[in-house]
Amino acid sequence: MSSDLVQILEGNTFVVSDRTGDIEASLTDPTGLFSFDTRFLSKWVLTVDGERLNPLSVDDLQYFETRFFLVPGTGTVYVDSDLSVIRHRTVGSGFRESIRLLNHKQEPVSLTLRLDAGSDFADLFEVKDALRKCGEYHTRVDDGRLVLGYRRETFERETWISSSAPSTTDEHGLTCAVKIPAHGTWETSIDVVARIPYLTEPSGPAGRRSGRSTRPDMARGLDKWLSRAPRLECGSRSLTTTYQRSLVDLAALRFAPMTSPQHALPAAGLPWFMTMFGRDSILTSLQSIAFTPELAATTLRTLGERQGTRIDDFRDEDPGRILHEMRFGELTAFEERPHSPYYGSADATPLYVVLLDEYERWTGDTKLVRDLEVEARAALNWIDTYADLQGNGYISYQRRNEETGLENQCWKDSWDSISFRDGRLPGFPRATCELQGYAYDAKMRGARLARRVWRDEAFADKLEKEAADLKRRFNRDFWVVDGEYFAVAIDADGRQVDSLTSNIGHLLWSGIVDKSKARRVVEHLMGDRLFSGWGVRTLAEGEGRFNPIGYHVGTVWPFDNSFIAWGLRRYGFKEEAARIAEGILDAAAYFDGRLPEAFGGYPRSDTKYPVQYPTACSPQAWSTGAPLLLLRTMLGLEPVDGQLVVDPALPVAIEHLELLDIPGRWGRRDAFGRGQITTSPRTRRRRPNHR
């Protein structure tokens, strides 16, 4: 997101504008008012007496509201105006914009205020790919309200625009004749409602949003959310800032599904990915489970409700498969895109079972585990029945929808992410290594749930036996003997795809690594080829495709590192976990506590600061969740036999850390730790100035 754009959102409704608050989008330009993956305003321009306005400042008040301070005239160096304009915008199911005009003259003034409005009703996919529309536009003035509309067969989307102050409405906007006394003010409130028949109407599944541009309880909701989360006390101002930033961003990333509008799950990223993603919602729920376990509950319920039940090639759907992505726009509605929902993810299904077990271990909510028994069993069944595309006992992926389906169905989903040392790309199907780790963990955790909650000893035994067999085979088949690490994948010909990648860290998290091999894996993770000083690179230096600013081929991903740190703790490598936590949290300080999706894989000693990877999506859910999981790993928080175990291993730079009121089956508990781990000299380099 370009820094001269302003964005606010609520759920999947968001506004992206320039710094005057205006919107002037072209088909490919990502500004506008969006809701349910459709652009409802592509033009929104405020003028006073025909003149555009000039921004003095922008106040980002909350993630859902912002205020623009403006004066007439543009492009001049010297601004000395007798008039101030304040636009205060709050987003809901559309937005409300209060416009205040302040006359600084000693005499009354008469002005013409004009808002030009228009919409192209583009689908988000069209904004990305510059596609043309098939339907027809209409505009009407209805009882003083301007209605912009788009229709294609039965598909209808409308934008309703109305002003509280008297105005003249035409098909291109609203005009207000304004008279302001000397030193007086004038104000109007404009409501813009994104209207979808049968969806946002009162009786529709998103009906709570109906007819109003905003919800009155948004600010209160945010305060309540923040007050329910554990409290952090520590000596590091930057860590405190990062923690607060993570909680607020996680609040902004909440997304209410249509089937339970009063609950929320984490969407993948803001603003373009404000929708349900199996992988992102599950991983973020795992990262935040010690802080906001209710997100996990909604994630599990909602993904369970939409679990695959059939074979459908267009959607890459199988029985038991957990969805990849849900979308609501025109292309999805006409089945030109498969996102209703789309199932092309190879990891979300085993991770679903992992999350269910982790959730139960923290919360003791056995009712949900019983409620979701059928879904969890279907997910476990998917692993062996539908995901073993090569018949070799491993999860592989290969899309069946070759036109609009996803080629890479693991988290490293770019075209060149999985490669041999020499840079060659393997064919499909591909069995990436972390998928096998997730499958192992799902079976082990499924066995625990079967024994403790579902009371099915035979099923538990079967799963454990399968898991043990998988672990044995995996440690044999994926182990690259001449490098002493695990291959990133097995290709369609059964060959090891032998590059060294961060994926081996996920294997530690899943527990699939033989104890005897763990030390070598850790040495690779913390060695110069993978560890940059800030974190573990996605691909090791020296591999054919290595590029420190390549999306999945050399950058450092905070989310990836948070799971690697968890894996290091699982195998007892506390100091190494602390080094990763320190590196990533140090990096966060350079981004005001908001970690980007990825940053450059340059050695820390070379760049002094982390180089952000240019990306259109910020904050991103699993980057937001990374500091939370790192706090958990540093404090060594683990639910064991219904109690919260605390086993801190903190870098000395943090000095002390207290996390108070950690929710769980124990009620609320506090955790405390002191910094005792001396990290290597390289990571104790000059620290950023705390802002």
Binding site: L199, E305, R310, I311, D312, A333, S340
Partner: protein, 109 residues
């Protein structure tokens, strides 16, 4: 899935000479279809031919809902459960590859 979703969907089938009402009740894992009038948790208004396509797996209920070809008033979770009752489209790789012994169980139900 069906054990959790329970309730009655009323389908108002349009597109014919007159609106037909059908009731589909999901309870304790059973599905009962009838034309006898009863209370409904969700009312679905849809063209009868489109419903046929949804039931045979050639059209998708969620997509139909998003394009306004299927109107839903009431408990949306029931509609999601309903959509999941049916098999996939007849033309799938799975049916084409049933000669592979390993994958024979992948035939649509």
């Amino acid at each position: 899935m069906l054990e959790k979703a329970s309730g009655t969907l009323r389908f108002d089938l349009v597109g014919g000479p007159q609106v037909e009402h059908w009731y589909l009740t999901i309870a304790h894992g059973n599905v009962v279809v009838s034309q006898r009038k009863s209370r409904a948790d969700v009312v679905v208004t849809v063209d009868g031919r489109l419903l046929d396509r949804i039931v045979t797996g050639t059209a998708n209920a969620m997509a139909a809902f998003l394009r306004g070809a299927m109107r839903v008033e009431g408990d949306f979770a029931l509609l999601i459960a309903f959509q999941r009752l049916f098999g996939g489209p007849p033309e799938t790789c799975a049916t084409r590859t049933t000669d592979e012994a390993d994958h024979s169980e992948r035939t649509p139900r």
